[in-house]
Every structure is written in C-alpha cells, then in structure tokens.
Symmetry: C2
Subunit: 341 residues, 2 copies
C-alpha cells in the first residue's frame, strides 16, 4: 500500500493543491516520487500494489501510474484513516492479508537493500503478528520524525522496539541521538490487516468503525470521512501499540519532506549546488536551484539558498529553513493570495 | 542632452540588449528613467532636448519619448564619443551653443533643486567657459563614481575643482570620504560645445575628428564609429581638463547603477523591503523583490537579498553585491546562454 495523499505544502511552489509532491518529476531523469515508490512496492508485492490518495488527486495519480488500483479518500484525514481504509479493504478480501505501507514521498538509494529488510519485516509479521517498522540510524536531531528506542541496532536483524516517540522536541531529539539507542522511524509499516484494525478498534474506535462500514458498503466515504479525527498512525497507534519491532536498515533512506532533501534525491555538483533547468551559479555553493519552462535561474554571491521557480511562483529560502515554506503557505492564505497555492 | 545609450547589464535581467535600463518602468507609477530624465532636461532647456542613444534602441526610445530629437550611434563607444557627437552637432547649428549633459539612468528626488543648480552651473559656463559639474556629498566609499576635490562645499555655490579622480580604488575612496574634501561627481556636465570639442581635440583627437566629419556629412557614422576608442568622458577629458568647477548640491541624487539603488527610486515598506508585483516576504528585511507578469515572489527567512524576475530569467544576489550581476552576464556569454542577455 502506497500512501500518496499528502498535500506537500513544504514543496511549494512545485507542489500545489492540485499537484501534490509525489506527482512531481523531482527524481533523476524526471521520475516522480510516486513512480519510485511503486517500484519499491512491486519489488515486494508484485502487481498487488494499492495506492491510497485523495479523490481530487485520483486523475493525476492515474496518469503517473496507469492501471494501478486506487483507493480514494473524499477528504484527507491523515494517515490513521488512510491505513484503516486500506486495512479494512484488504481484510474484506483476505482475512489473513498482510500489508506493507510505503509513503510515496521518500527516496531510497539502495532498493534491493530495502526489499530485503521489508521481506524480513513481513516474515516477522507473518510469524509473530508484530507491527514491523524500518529503523534508520539518525544523522541529526531531526524533530520531524518518529524515534524508535532499541537495545541494539544490527542492520537486517528484527529488533524489539522498547518505545516509539513521534516528533520529539529539539532537546529530546538531541538526547536520543546522543544516546545511540534510538533509530529514526522510516515511516514504513508492516502488519496484518487484522492487527491494524484491532489497534484502531482499541485506540481510534470511531475511525475503525467508519472504515469497516465503508468497506462493507453500509456507509459512503463522502458522508462519514469528514467527521473522522485527523491524526497520524504514529500518534494514534504506534506510540501506544505493543509488540512493535524494527529492522535496522542502512539503505540510503531520505524523507523528501522539504526542498532541503533534494540533493539526496538528485545529487549535487562539485560546488555542492543542486540544479535543474537552466541555471547559472557564480560565487555560490550549496544552493538548490530548480527552474521550469526554460526560465533561467541566475545566482551570484550567495550560498546555501533554495531558489525554486514553478509555474507562476518563485520561492527563495535559506536551505536550513526550508521547513519554513509553510509560513509562506499560511501568509498566502491570510493575504488573499490563495490562488498561488 | 540626455545620455541614453547604455546597455545596463547591471540591471539584468530586467535590462537586456534590446531593452536597456533607461527604458524600464522602474520608477514610481511605472515611469521610465528616461521619462524622468527628459523632465529634468525640459526644466532647463524647454523643448531643446536631444537624446543620444544606440541605433538599436531608437525605436524603443521613440516609444517612450515620442517627438523627441534623437541622435543615434551605430555602436556604443562610451560617453566620450557620445558627448563629442552631440557637441559637434550642436556646434554646427550654433557656434555658441552650451549644453548640459544628463545621464538617463539617475534618480533625483528634488527636481526644482536640481534645476536651480544646473542653471547656476550653466551661468558659470557662459560667463567663464568652465566645465561645470554637480557635486554630491558622499555617503559611502563608492568605487563606481568619480570624485571631485574641493576646498569647500557650500550647496549652490560655484566651486573650483582641484582634481577629478574617476573610480578610485576602495582605500582611496575611503580616504577621500574621510577627508571631507571630496564630492561625488553626479555625472552631469555643463559646457559649451566648442569647449568640449577643444578638449577632445587635445585629449582624444581621433574621436574629435570623427564626430566633426560625421556632423559635416563627410563621413558615415557606421564607417568611422567602430574604430573609435571606447572611453568615458571622465577618463578621457575630466581627469585632465583645466578650469573645472562644481556646484555642490543636496537634491536627493542617486545613480541607478544597480538593483541596490532601487529603494531610493521606489521607496521601501516598514520592514525595509522594496517590492513590485505580487510578493510575500516572511521573516525578512531589506529585500528587493521585483516581479513581472503576475509571477509571485515568495521570500522567507532571508534578508538583504535582491530577487528579480523579468521575462525568462530570475536573478538572486545579495544586495551588497548587486554590482556582481555583471559576473552573471559574463558567465552567460561564456556558457552559450547569451540568448538570456
């Protein structure tokens, strides 16, 4: 199951309401993030790949992934509802169904390596009915990720998770990284559909009931979805669930959560600049410059800046503050400029 | 005489080969720099205003200034040739002609004040056959201007110039400013046509001969111009001429030589940002953001940066290094991207 429903405002102005980040040609050779995620999914599931996305993105998603099975949500209610809908749908078809959940907005450099750790996690799920995660050795005190506490982290070895903490504050994240006993949660989950539904029954019963009603044809998604809680599976379930395991992995994983992640996806030149489209950078290093439509981006005398031209908007933000793009999105709404969103 | 022949590469990407900076609607209400210069010229000369420009810019210049008398040069050869051509043309009509030379790429806040100092300078020219300049109290150690050494600087009072130094190095400029005995040369000159031609005869004889031949109809500009030296009137004449005077002036003068000068021309908001077109600036001060065609410029978390979108190009440069735009122009030529010039 590919989670492809995000609005991706942190990749504005390339990502817009009608063009979420997983559909952008950001990867090498212009590959979309969704196409790369589908390849990762097919490596473990063959043709049995399901994409969950927003109804408003269904058309554009089908263009990137023709023939794929789509499950659409009438409104976005974060990942708990999306996973619940997928789990209920698959459980209806096969009560023993097991699923791997792969977010569409990630980059994995070592795809065979990822296939191996996912297969290890899926085997643990089938054997022990655990919830399997993928653990990444942290390289910075990132506050946007979840953290998995473990006793040891041997790549490829199924390891019990003592505790799951979603998005800690900066001081906590720093302590976690310093301790050496925490891994980043890569956002991929493996579990049986039945286990996921049981967890939702316990921790988010209204959502669990709603997705069962929808799947059984007793309720329309458009009617029940708007009332569902908008909460992530991490907060709703993972922080509270028992028997969570992780498979530590060194597979070149990156969350494409902001423009700052683009060099991981596309590489950079000898000056550390990452550029797409016609660009000229003089006396500058570590810049990220992405143009479109043949518009030239010229940068002189400045470093570590993100410059994005996409359609009718240009973004300029320091690379270290790429997360603050959401402030622009808020300001546009507040100032009557929502047409640029 | 309005000097309007520059290519204005420092205002790229708004200024291009076919659209020099004096024809850009950079001023308040979208006024062009040329239109403002014409108004300053008419204030002292009535309808007797002559514009010297490049042949390639004649059509665009006529659109901004319909009915104006144009003198065109087949190729640019800097200001010595342009002034020579104008002086020879006017001397042919009236051997006692006196002219005021006004660059088109300047901003003057106090136009009546400027009219008064120009009239003072012109009176000195008619009385004493001097070369009159306008002196501006320096506010920084600018290396792009000429400096006038004087014993005293009383606004509005004709003052002998001891020495004229064009574009000193940084240390020299700093010493000049610290001494209190130097004024910036505002780039405006008043002199008789005969005096200008005599100076050229002495310091740049080939140019003097050529402009006389062209004016007398004995040579075609297209044939003799390419061989002329490309040198400014400042280097060719002003540094060497005797009997130069200046009228110190406090008239809100600015040279619109780079994007950094734009706040003087257009003003700035409470955060010190200068913006035109749709812009959103969050957590940033002292930025200059100029868009076109409704393209939004969004800046977050960065200050004192120039962001210009014009046609098919975007420029990003620190405000303090706005002069370095010429490096972009050079790089574009070197990399086969001259179509963006």
């Amino acid at each position: 199951m590919i989670l492809a429903g995000g609005s991706g405002t942190r990749l504005w102005p390339a990502s817009r309401r009608a063009r979420p980040k997983q559909l952008l040609p950001l990867g090498p050779g212009g590959e979309t993030l969704l196409a790369a995620a589908l390849r990762r999914g097919r490596a473990i599931a063959g043709p049995r790949v399901l994409v969950v996305t927003a109804e408003t993105q269904a058309e554009a998603t089908r263009q990137v992934a023709p023939g794929i099975e789509l499950l659409t949500e009438p409104v976005g209610r974060n990942t708990a509802a999306a996973l619940g809908l997928a789990a209920a749908t698959l459980a209806e078809r096969d009560r023993d169904a097991v699923l791997a959940v792969l977010p569409a907005d990630q980059h994995v450099a070592d795809e065979p390596g990822l296939t191996a750790v996912l297969e290890t996690a899926l085997a643990a799920v089938e054997r022990d009915d655990v919830i399997g995660t993928i653990g990444i050795a942290p390289t910075r005190a990132e506050t946007g990720f979840g953290y998995l506490e473990v006793d040891a982290a041997t790549p490829g070895v199924v390891t019990p998770v003592r505790r799951f903490v979603e998005k800690p504050d900066r001081a906590t994240a720093e302590a976690y990284v310093a301790s050496g006993r925490y891994l980043w949660n890569a956002g991929m989950f493996c579990a049986s559909a039945a286990r996921l539904l049981r967890e939702l029954d316990e921790h988010l019963p209204a959502t669990a009931a709603a997705v069962r009603e929808i799947t059984a044809g007793r309720a329309r998604a458009s009617e029940v979805y708007p009332a569902l809680a908008s909460i992530s599976i991490d907060h709703a379930v993972m922080e509270r669930a028992a028997r969570v395991v992780t498979v530590p992995a060194a597979v070149g994983w990156d969350d494409i959560g902001s423009w700052a992640a683009l060099p991981a996806l596309r590489g950079s030149d000898a000056d550390g600049n990452t550029a797409a489209g016609p660009t000229v950078i003089v006396d500058g290093t570590g810049n990220i410059a992405i143009g479109d439509d043949g518009t030239l981006i010229a940068i002189v005398g400045i470093s570590d800046v993100v410059v994005i031209k996409s359609g009718d908007a240009i973004l300029v933000v320091p690379r270290a503050e790429a997360q603050d793009v959401r402030k622009i999105v808020e300001a546009l709404s507040a100032r009557g400029l929502a047409r640029y969103l």
